[in-house]
Each structure stands twice: as C-alpha cells, then as structure tokens.
C-alpha cells in the first residue's frame, strides 16, 4: 500500500453512446492529495467513480494508475482492484455477511491470504475506522453511520492505494461526519489516497486539497478556492458557493481579514478575525 496517482482521460461513459453520462471527462488524483468530486445529483459523480474503479468500462478513454493504463481483462481488473477500491453510498448494498468482522474479511479472504494475515487486516481496518468495538455485532443491528464506516472498513481491508468514497458523509450527523473525516485522515497516514464525492460544498472546501466539479458531462478540476469561488461554474453545476468564501471575501473587502488564502471553515474564520473592534489589519 502506497500512494499512487489515479487518472482518467478522455472518458466517455454511459449506457448509450448517443447520450453518454460523461463525454470526454478528464481527472487526475495526485498521489496523497485529498480530492473532492463535486456535482449535483444525477450529474455523473457516481458514474465517474465507478469508471475509475474499473466497475464500469468506458466507451472511450483511459484510466491509469501511475501512468499505467487499466486493461479491462480479467487479470487487468484483478490488479486494478487491489490498488483502487470504491465504496458506494448505500452501505446496505455492500454489507452482505452476518457479522461485521465476517463482512470485512470478505475481500482479504478472496485475495487468498492466509487466515492469520486476514485476521490482522480485519483488525487493522476496523481500528482505522474506529469500529473495532462492533466486530462481533450482526450487521443489521448497526446504525446507519456505523454501517457506513463498516462498509469503508471492508474496502480498507483490501489495502488499496486509492480509496474512492461515494458520498461518505451523506445522511450523517455532524459528529459522525467528524468521526468519518478523522478516520480518513488515519487512512492517509496509512498511505491510502482518498477521493470523496459529495454535494456539500462547505465540506469540500474545508476538507479537500483539490476539487473536481462534474458539470455538463465533463470535469473541471482545480484548487478549492479557485473552483469553489467561480460562481458561473457553480451555477452551471447547480451548486452553491460555500458560505465561508462568500462571507470571507466580503470581510476581506471590509479590511477584516488578512491577505493570503481565505479561511475555509468557521473556526479558522473566527481565528483570522481581529480581536478588538475597529482595528482592521
């Protein structure tokens, strides 16, 4: 397991060549950088991730890992799946074993690893996601947030270089979101590059190193402050400007925020504001 660069170029993806979901989309996930894939519902975020994971074969275009193109042969897919893992949005569609530990062991067992190694990997994945206390529980007794994290653990046990997460925070309350983000930070330290799709622009702004917006069947990628500050692009993508950028830009005009990059969330905005009234920096 080590960070790898996953990329797609010229991707045409869809069921109908006349009306593809993505048409000429390109995306690069630089090794070790956090990428947020943004887009409205139905824009093609999930399709893009499925294509990058190898689950969906593009009608045209190439997916590469560290420059090496993915071949959609049995062996090619097998190799790809050990490097790139996708976790889908609905955890119920990924948990199919009786108990949490059993479910997480599914992937490593299929890799043909010896039992001891599997056991170690399961324990590691559960610990990384902070769900080790649930190991013996039946999957159907878990809460939604717990099921989501166990589903991620199932992919993590495969030790992927790149982990693609489809809407990992959708439907979670703030504390569950915080726990999920903490788990993702641990995964990065464990040398997995993390990509998440979301339509939460505020979350993307505060989490991501890079942002890719899926819009009009293509992908626009760039630095979060640039992409999420582009009102024209966001309107086309049916997204909103993150509040922190809107409010931060105005406060800078008012002379209340220093130069440099704008704060990305409430805490850093508050920290950047002057302490006393009437003393613009």
């Amino acid at each position: 397991m080590s960070h790898r660069t996953l990329a797609g170029t010229g991707l045409v993806v869809g069921y109908d060549r006349a009306r593809p979901v993505l048409d000429g989309a390109a995306l690069t996930v630089p090794a070790g950088r956090r990428l947020a894939v943004l887009g409205a519902n139905g824009s093609g975020k999930t399709t893009l991730l499925r294509c990058l994971s190898g689950a969906l074969r593009p009608l045209a275009g190439t997916v590469t890992v560290d420059g090496v193109p993915l071949r959609h042969s049995r062996a090619g897919l097998r190799a790809h799946r050990q490097e790139v893992q996708l976790v889908l949005q609905d955890p119920d569609d990924q948990l199919f074993s009786a108990s949490v530990a059993q479910d997480v062991s599914f992937g490593p067992l299929n890799l043909g690893l010896p039992e001891e190694t599997v056991r170690a990997r399961v324990a590691e994945a559960l610990a990384l996601l902070a769900v080790d206390h649930l190991a013996a529980r039946p999957t159907h007794q878990l809460s939604y947030g717990e099921r989501k994290r166990v589903a991620i653990a199932g992919a993590v046990a495969m030790r992927p270089c790149v982990l693609l997460l489809d809407e990992p925070t959708a439907g979670l309350d703030p504390s569950a979101v915080a726990e999920t983000l903490a788990a993702l930070a641990r995964l990065e330290e464990h040398d997995s590059t993390v990509v998440m799709s979301t339509h939460d622009v505020d979350l993307a702004l505060r989490w991501a190193d890079e942002v890719a917006v899926v819009v009009d069947r293509a992908v626009v990628q760039g630095a979060p402050l640039d992409v999420l500050g582009d009102d024209v692009l966001l309107a086309r993508a049916r997204l909103e400007r993150p509040w922190a950028l809107a409010v931060g830009a105005r406060l800078r005009e008012l002379g209340l925020l220093p130069g440099g990059t704008l704060p990305r969330d409430a805490a850093s905005l508050l920290a950047a504001l002057p302490d006393r009234p009437g003393v613009p920096t």
């Binding site: 199919f96 074993s97 009786a98 108990s99 039946p138 159907h140």
Partner: protein, 226 residues
Amino acid sequence: MHIAEGFLPPAHAIGWTVAAAPFVVHGARAVVREVRENPESTLLLGAAGAFTFVLSAIKLPSVTGSSSHPTGTGAGAILFRPPVMALLGTVVLLFQALLLAHGGLTTLGANAVAFAVVGPWTGYGAYRLTRALGAGLLPGVFVGTVVADLATYVTTSLQLALAFPDASGGIPAAVAKFLGVFALTQIPLAIGEGLLGVLLFRALTANARPELERLGLLRPAPEAAP
C-alpha cells in the same frame, strides 16, 4: 428453459393451460384467503414474488466458462410452500415473458406446469422426505433444489416430446432426444442451483434465523446463554 411463444401446437398450448389451471387457481385461492385474513400479506407475497424473479436473474458461473440462471423453483417452494408458488411462479413466468422475452403467453400454461407446479411440488416433496429421513436443513435444501430443477427440465422435455414425437421412435425416442440435448446444460445447472440453495440457506441461518423459524424451516433455537 422456457418454451418460447409459438413453439407448441395450439392444442398442446391449450391442453397445458387447462392442466395448470387447477393448481394456479388453488394457489390464487390460498393467496386471496391469506390477504383477507392479513391485508398486509399482500406486501410480503409481493416481496416473495419479486425475490423469485430476481433469484432467476442471478448469474451462476459454470465450470465450462459460460453462465446460467437458476430456476428458483426449489428454493421458492421450500421458502413459500408449493401452493403459493403455483401462483407466484405463474406471475413470475408472466413477468419473464413480458419483461425478458423468456417464454410466452400461449406457452404460459405449459411453462407453469413445469416451473410453478411440477418443479415446486417434487422439489418440496424431496425436501420433506430428506428431512423426514433425519437430514438437516442444508442437505434437505440441496436435494430439494436439485430435484426441483431436474423435475422442471424433465417436464419441459416431456412436453416437447409429446408435441414433437420422433418420426420413427415416437414419443419415447423424442423424450430421450430432448432429455439428452438439454441435459448438457441442465444437469450442471441443477447441481449449481443445489449449491446455490445450500449457500443461500446457510447465509440465511446466519443472517435471518428468526425469519426461517417463523417460516417453520428451523426449530426455534434454545435461548443462548448470555
């Protein structure tokens, strides 16, 4: 192995429809009674039918590299009982004809006899017999699903043989012919379906024990020590 639309001569199509009718009507009566007593069982029965349809959409790999689909008649009969399966199986066959172009409307009766009557009843009988002989749930399921699949295929072969007797050997030779040709695909498939049935019920005993107990397939377990 659904008999395609237009394949059977009209007299045979009508004959098999008449043969299937009493079983399907019996199943319909059972369903109507059940729904009258518990209106919400409409949803459970609908879910059972949808599951049977979806079960037959599962791709089973075969050693030869090609893949095939289970009939679902045996597992359905063990889970939902043959009378109800006579109706649900016929509904599923109607949907397969209209949504997947598997089977047909005038051949619905013939297919119902094979898939919704003979398959489920013999499979269920084999399951009960195996259990009565002292076997556990999983061996019973294996025998039941394999027998149901084979019985379905033998019935279809008989139906075809009756419609198209051999020019020189008559019906017995035709039966041998159809059995022989379809055996190539059906015998591995029957064993595959038996394996799938065992794996399905094994997973259910781990995941859904209370449901299996309610269906009467498992005895309620003694209270586990805390």
